[in-house]
């Protein structure tokens, strides 16, 4: 009322216009927050929060790659575990055959039949040790791109891969070795004190059985070596199992951290719907009131009263 009596008409309109424009801008910005679900439309709305949101989204992007890497490592290690179980089965069968061959009642034909089966087992073991990972590379060949084991001129399986397997980052600075190299779970020190491996043991036994003659020493050596080989293999399998558990553990941690990040994102950047709606309602109420009072005041004209 005072604006009309003390100020000029133009000042009254100007002031009302400024006030209503402010209210309208406020209401529109609240509405934008509600419809976008985000409190920040540009970085300048809150530079600190926007910077935090940027680093959170960067962490999230990199964490998704960690998840992809972890699932690759998980797939490779599961494949390795399966291959190693098959190998263990083969070694156990070789043990049974060696035990049969140790019997002095066997005929030469029976021994050579056992030798044939042992050769077959040797080939299975070679094929298993050359198993492929999820990318099509040798599972137990370290960083080599081809086979892990190759037969040399004498028909012996020789390791041709690299010395170590590659590591994959799992996020938060944690790594996992995605597989094992062949020698890590196939090679061991034989009964005679020299380095050997499961495939060599099987081949030596089969060769001894084929030659005929007394096989007592050969079978006894083979049984001892196969037992050591099986132990080494089982140890290797335990290592793989531990790594799988480690991936699972880091996976859980990654999921927890990701959840924390999204909670923080919502807290920093998300719209608090209840608060925003009530503030919008408040602003709209004030705006309606000021529009109503404006139209009543602007309708007051002395010219209407003077006749």
């Amino acid at each position: 009322m005072t604006t009309i009596t003390t100020g000029s008409t133009g000042a009254f309109y100007e002031r009302s216009r400024l006030d209503m424009k402010d209210l309208r801008t406020q209401a529109e910005s609240l509405q934008a927050q509600l419809s976008s679900g985000s409190r920040l439309t540009r970085s300048s709305d809150n530079p600190v929060a926007a910077s935090r949101l940027r680093s959170l989204s960067r962490l999230e992007t990199l964490s998704q790659i960690d998840t992809a890497n972890a699932s690759r490592a998980n797939a490779d290690l599961t494949l390795a575990d399966a291959a190693m179980s098959d190998m263990a089965d083969a070694v156990i069968r070789a043990q049974e055959l060696a035990t049969q061959a140790a019997s002095s009642t066997l005929t030469g034909e029976q021994r050579s039949a056992i030798a044939t089966e042992l050769d077959q087992i040797g080939q299975n073991l070679l094929a298993l040790s050359n198993a492929r990972d999820s990318n099509g590379h040798a599972l137990f060949g370290g960083e080599a791109s081809g086979d892990a084991y190759k037969l040399d001129a004498a028909g012996k399986a020789a390791y041709v891969g690299t010395a170590g397997s590659e590591e994959l980052p799992l996020g938060e600075g944690q790594n996992v070795t995605r597989s094992m190299t062949g020698p890590q779970f196939l090679s061991f020190t034989g009964k005679d004190g020299s380095a050997t491996d499961v495939m060599a043991t099987v081949k030596a036994l089969s060769d001894a059985l084929k030659t005929g003659g007394s096989t007592a020493a050969a079978t006894s050596d083979a049984l001892a070596n196969l037992q050591t080989g099986l132990d080494t293999l089982t140890t290797g399998q335990t290592v793989v199992g531990t790594r799988l558990a480690w991936i699972e553990l880091t996976g859980e941690r990654r999921a927890d951290l990701s959840q924390l990040r999204s909670t923080e994102e919502t807290e920093i950047g998300g719209t608090d719907i209840a608060t925003t709606v009530s503030r919008l309602q408040e602003t709209l109420t004030v705006l309606e009131a000021s529009q109503a009072s404006f139209s009543r005041l602007s309708g007051l004209s002395l010219f209407d009263q003077l006749r």
Partner: protein, 445 residues
């Protein structure tokens, strides 16, 4: 005596008529921009004598002595000063917002993170063709977003320079008009309606001028105005009928400098000054963006050179260029990424050099630097927005306060209309009385 009465009534009627005209003019201009409410100054006519007591009484009617323009020079200069500050702040914020969107909406940060991510994913299988292609394409996208951001900055700079140039043109136009108004003011009669209109025009032009640049005004005795640009010690833009020329020069780095009649001038407020300040900030942002791009180019190319690619050949540069404008991905394809160390054979799965690359990228830290740049620009926008809102509300209240004092109040004018109508009718009644008196003399027989 009857004739005297008649002439007094006539002068009264004329005054009332004049006042009614002024009131009508006020009502008609109630919403005219820059119109200052007028009122009529009336005084008694002295010099007439009465028969009986010539020295004691003076009866000669009234006359209009002038048109009063109810302008408050202080409030007007406040409107100009605060308006100039608000225009500067608003232009600066607008320019900075353009810089912000050039850097933020082009997605440079996201593309840098994507490139980092694809290098990390390549660890899972360095010989995989699709992962390699993805890394190289992410590198290309990153280079292109840097180009886009640089072009957006260029476009923002060109827009600001164009608007500043337009502002300079406007200043020169207004200065020319002010010179002509000054000339006519020097010739117009004092307190005439013609002069009031010229003064309205003068004040209106000054207000327009203050939106563009900071001006210091001096009102001379003949009501013409002298305008200094760039503070009280600045260069004279308008003095008397002479208007000097404001000129703008764009430096190689895009910043602006101004001269009045070849004399260097510093503008500290007004929209032109705001645009010049925004251009300085834009130059700073561009320098930082270029440094980030150059850091990526040198760190990645150095790391490439220390390894061998998929075919076992020494790594070739991945990027060319030295700034955000010309950074480009030049590798022939995914196989050109030198992931393996120098001694490795073809198709090696050894990731030693990929680790070197990732370490080099992490120490160049383009994502962190980009975040810092975005943070700097956005907090500048946020801070300046607060300043702008404060200055805009100060300017708004200064404008309202001037209008409250100098503007037209329709209620007042309605009252004046009735009052002067009554005065006119009263004067007419006096004429009637004079006529009646004359008739009663004639009626004696």
């Amino acid at each position: 005596m009857g004739a005297d009465l008649l002439s007094i009534a006539r002068s009264g009627a004329r005054v009332a008529r004049g006042a009614l005209d002024v009131t009508a003019n006020n009502i008609a201009n109630a919403s005219s921009e820059g119109y200052v409410r007028r009122s009529v100054a009336v005084s008694e006519v002295s010099g007439g004598t009465s028969l009986g007591t010539p020295a004691a009484i003076n009866l000669a009617g009234a006359r209009i002595t002038g048109i009063v323009r109810n302008a408050d020079a202080f409030r007007q200069s406040e409107v100009r000063r605060t308006g100039s500050d608000a225009a500067r702040a608003s232009a600066e914020v607008q320019g900075l917002e353009n810089v912000q969107s050039a850097l933020e909406q082009t997605g440079v940060y996201e593309s840098v993170v994507a490139f980092e991510g694809s290098l990390k994913q390549l660890l899972s299988d360095p010989t995989d063709g699709s992962l390699r292609a993805q890394a190289v394409e992410d590198a290309r996208t990153m280079a292109q977003t840097f180009n886009t951001a640089s072009q957006s900055l260029d476009a923002a700079a060109r827009g600001l320079q164009f608007e500043a140039q337009d502002g300079v043109t406007q200043v020169n136009r207004i200065a020319g008009e002010l010179g002509r108004v000054n000339l006519r003011l020097m010739r117009a009669a004092d307190s005439s309606s013609d002069q009031s209109a010229l003064l309205d025009q003068r004040d209106n032009l000054l207000q327009q001028l203050s939106d563009h640049a900071d001006i210091t005004t001096t009102i001379n005795a003949d009501k013409s105005v002298s305008v200094m640009l760039g503070g009280p010690t600045g260069a004279a833009l308008v003095s008397g009928a002479t208007a000097n020329i404001l000129a703008m020069t764009t430096a190689a780095n895009g910043t602006l400098s101004f001269t009045v009649n070849s004399q260097a001038t510093t503008l500290s407020s007004g929209a032109i000054a705001g645009k010049a300040q925004a251009l300085v900030e834009l130059g700073g942002a561009r320098t930082q963006l270029n440094a980030i791009a150059a850091g990526i180019v040198s760190s990645m190319n150095t790391a490439q050179a220390s390894g061998v690619d998929l075919a076992g050949n020494p790594g070739q540069p991945l990027f060319s260029g030295t700034s955000a404008a010309d950074i480009a991905m030049v590798a022939s394809g995914g196989s050109a990424l030198a992931t393996a160390p120098a001694s490795a054979a073809a198709a090696s799965r050894d990731v030693t050099n990929l680790d070197t690359m990732r370490t080099a990228l992490a120490s160049a830290d383009p994502a962190g630097a980009m975040d810092t740049l975005l943070f700097g620009v956005s907090s500048a926008v946020a801070g300046r927005t607060v300043t702008r809102d404060a200055l805009a509300s100060i300017a708004g209240s200064a404008r309202v306060s001037l209008q409250a004092q100098a503007g037209v109040n329709l209620d007042d004018e309605a009252v004046n209309l009735v009052r002067f109508q009554q005065a006119y009718q009263a004067s007419a009644r006096v004429m009637q009385v004079a006529s009646d008196i004359f008739d009663s003399i004639l009626a004696i027989r």
